[in-house]
Symmetry: D2
Amino acid sequence: MSALNLDGIIGYPVTPFTADGERVAVDRLAALVERLVADGCHAVAPLGSTGESAYLDEHEWCEAAETSIAAVAGRVPTVVGIAELTTRSAVRRAQFAERAGASAVMVLPLSYWRLDEREIVRHYTEVAGAVDIEVMIYNNPATAGVDLSPELMVSLVEKIENVTMVKESSGDLGRMHRLFQLTGGELPFYNGSNPLALAALMAGAAGWCTAAPCLIPGATLELHRAVRAGDFETAFKVFQQQLAVLQFIVRGGLPTTVKAGLALRGFDAGGPRRPLLPLDEERTAELSSLLAAVDAGRP
Amino acid sequence: MSALNLDGIIGYPVTPFTADGERVAVDRLAALVERLVADGCHAVAPLGSTGESAYLDEHEWCEAAETSIAAVAGRVPTVVGIAELTTRSAVRRAQFAERAGASAVMVLPLSYWRLDEREIVRHYTEVAGAVDIEVMIYNNPATAGVDLSPELMVSLVEKIENVTMVKESSGDLGRMHRLFQLTGGELPFYNGSNPLALAALMAGAAGWCTAAPCLIPGATLELHRAVRAGDFETAFKVFQQQLAVLQFIVRGGLPTTVKAGLALRGFDAGGPRRPLLPLDEERTAELSSLLAAVDAGRP
Amino acid sequence: MSALNLDGIIGYPVTPFTADGERVAVDRLAALVERLVADGCHAVAPLGSTGESAYLDEHEWCEAAETSIAAVAGRVPTVVGIAELTTRSAVRRAQFAERAGASAVMVLPLSYWRLDEREIVRHYTEVAGAVDIEVMIYNNPATAGVDLSPELMVSLVEKIENVTMVKESSGDLGRMHRLFQLTGGELPFYNGSNPLALAALMAGAAGWCTAAPCLIPGATLELHRAVRAGDFETAFKVFQQQLAVLQFIVRGGLPTTVKAGLALRGFDAGGPRRPLLPLDEERTAELSSLLAAVDAGRP
Amino acid sequence: MSALNLDGIIGYPVTPFTADGERVAVDRLAALVERLVADGCHAVAPLGSTGESAYLDEHEWCEAAETSIAAVAGRVPTVVGIAELTTRSAVRRAQFAERAGASAVMVLPLSYWRLDEREIVRHYTEVAGAVDIEVMIYNNPATAGVDLSPELMVSLVEKIENVTMVKESSGDLGRMHRLFQLTGGELPFYNGSNPLALAALMAGAAGWCTAAPCLIPGATLELHRAVRAGDFETAFKVFQQQLAVLQFIVRGGLPTTVKAGLALRGFDAGGPRRPLLPLDEERTAELSSLLAAVDAGRP
């Protein structure tokens, strides 16, 4: 069981880089995290897929983790993302995050050579065993190349004491129904697929893991508030209003599009790390008009 | 055009680790490379998928590259594998390999966030632009999460001067026909899909990139010799004799199975790096009998 | 625009066969349709995927259509399913259905050779052009082998006057959000993926196309009623109660599992048509206990 | 074991339709079959995927079978294709083909509802049990929606006496290696993937099932002759010469492209049956120049 009781909007900052793309712009990262907290996010999750976790070297990763945790300053929980190919590298990062004061780590098992269940179980056992903080399983087959079934994730939660939460980003709502069903609603699961934001909350998700608050915090938080208040009409309306932005940022890759959107919002976060390239002009213009529509409350 | 004129069996060593799995066992790596050369491989390719390139930190990777190049000692070409998520990391490794004396680098563009063609072109442009040695494009969608079409690969070869070769590991023979067709047979391409070994050579592949010589060098080299000699009957026979081994090592993951096979051959290369786990007993026994069949010349 | 204003639960009967499997058991079909109407379905859709439409010869299909329409007797709309490989065969069935008094036809474009957009547009143009009744587009890539994007379906609705509705069975909730978004909520779309029943209704689906009322009509209708009444708490509870049954009948193939369930309910509908085989004993026992749980109101 | 000893080029005629598309143009079909035999095909296979078998009603199918068998007149074996959703319909066609004098039937198990192994085994058992002639298993997942593994196909051959041959059209050469391996080369298998023509023959295929002889009989037969003669150099050259045509007719759908090609060759076979549409002008021009290149012996 999770003692964190994470519930609500878990905001994912990008990791801003310096102009030459060579270093993490720690001041910009701190400022962005501050914004997410100030805007009302119920938790902050640096170094997720949005945060280009897998693209950072170990020093940068530690710097970004430390900076984010310090900027949150305990006002809300901080969940630090780990996306590593090797177990030892994931263990080191988890231990660093714990020492730096993270509330939990979110662990994505990257695959190069296909992992079997035995290997996945061992990976989570070693990483979780190396820390005392809680561990969130992260399933994101499209980026990680490995797909964790609801059954496997529930068995990990049952076997390993501090594995207590699941983030589901496969985009298949049925997986969330299945997680609820397998655990009688007892396992807190979080939705990581932006276009399923409303449906997932209605399906029992404890929260929504999203980079959208970097760009449209009001709409994102209002969706959650409305659902929790049982005001489905408003929830549906604000979901429709932001859906085009959610679809856009997912389709174009979160670091690429959210960094472009932050620039449109007047916040310089640099570009994504190569080989990722900045959003081109045409699509930046499209994003600009989609953000304007959300600001104007247009569907 | 490639000045290397690579032709034949390109042997892929695993990267042996120390007993605790924490360091590269450089002496074992040197010994294995020595064996591959002594057994007659026409080139050696350390740090490929077999060599767990993506699982090594930068220091280990450099150590393995240097060790392998030194062990080859110029007797045959050395092609060093690079499988990195970021362009800058791939550039650094390519430059190190060049300084260390590599004949060429083989570059696999790993993906976390999906790469578009613009990003792939930029990645190869920057990596190839950073060195003077030749660059082999490596297409392996199953491990890398990105699939390079024959058309895209040919356009990279046309655009970037020192991109001169292609390694195709998608498992689709039609892709090799297409590479031949698009370039009138002028582009040297290499087959990385072991079960297609014979068909690829018959389809015009300049060579076969394979870890099989770690275990069955005689059979592997004989297949190539027979094809080049136009002795198709022998080629077919020796292909059938080794096919079960090729299927086995591919199905179980190359580092996992080849390290198990090396232990069966009396060569200690340690286990694969976690989360990869050593081959279990049952499958090790199966591999043992498959190797015995090849040794006995049984189909 | 649809003049039918279909809203709610669209019940899908199986097509019962005689004991030898050779003929449609028209009296059983009439009895089953009568039950669906009596139980409160808002419409009835014979000859859907559940009704083994594609497995019937033309004479049988016409008999089943006629029987169903007569049994409904105008009390609710009747939507007749057409799943044909050739346009001319689909046209003949649509014309027969119209003459027999169908309210609408639901058209699934089966593919053997892959269809391009031009061919799909032509198919719908010819079938819809041959009748005056409304046409529902049916997207079910898993059974039909062709996947219609939301954009294509909306363009068909815009181009062809009596194409007025869409049934989405891809299992991807995002497609329904997209249909809503592309048409400002004006296009009536119906969910054909049972495990998405609740989410789809919350996402604006005008109805739920389902064979579940053959087995658990009370739970199915109560779900729809609760959603329409804005009683989300009840909707969620009754959805959870029936979810295991919905998952089961989808996983095992609807004709196979629903016919087994009907037998458990005391209604003889025979087996599915070969090569489909009746549900085996073990899974029939599993279905029996799942149905008992729904009857008892257990989650 | 097969007593037919089919070896070589098995030519697949399209099924010509009358100008209105409503009937089989039996005289044209007879003329096309005559051409295939006269041009040297080692067997003829009417009513394959190329022959739009699945798009014909039962009367048309029987007419086409009878016409083809009569036109072959016993000069070479005739293998008649059956692609039906229901077992009973497949049984009736197999029995008709036997009575009409077919040498064998080739059976493709179409799927609408997914078939499990039990159902596939039953289908072949019933169809083969209804006739005394030999049955060829046909695996073509792209058109049929069901994929038969080499292991399953070999088990069917072992279980059912008159199931004696396999046609593999998955496009995966490894499947053919596997068929050879599982049966020690004893099971005659035939390649149905045109771009694998050369590789399959080198891999032990007993023959090549292809519509290409409708358009380029000389090149097709020469490829087979050269392989059988052990003249690999010629085989490779003539394969390269015809590869672009093979890729083109596969990519555009065989009935569509081969009918367009026959028109270019001066043979009127009508268009494919709707929803399939005739090849558009631009691609017809492309095909024309590809055929001209083959005629000129250009690569």
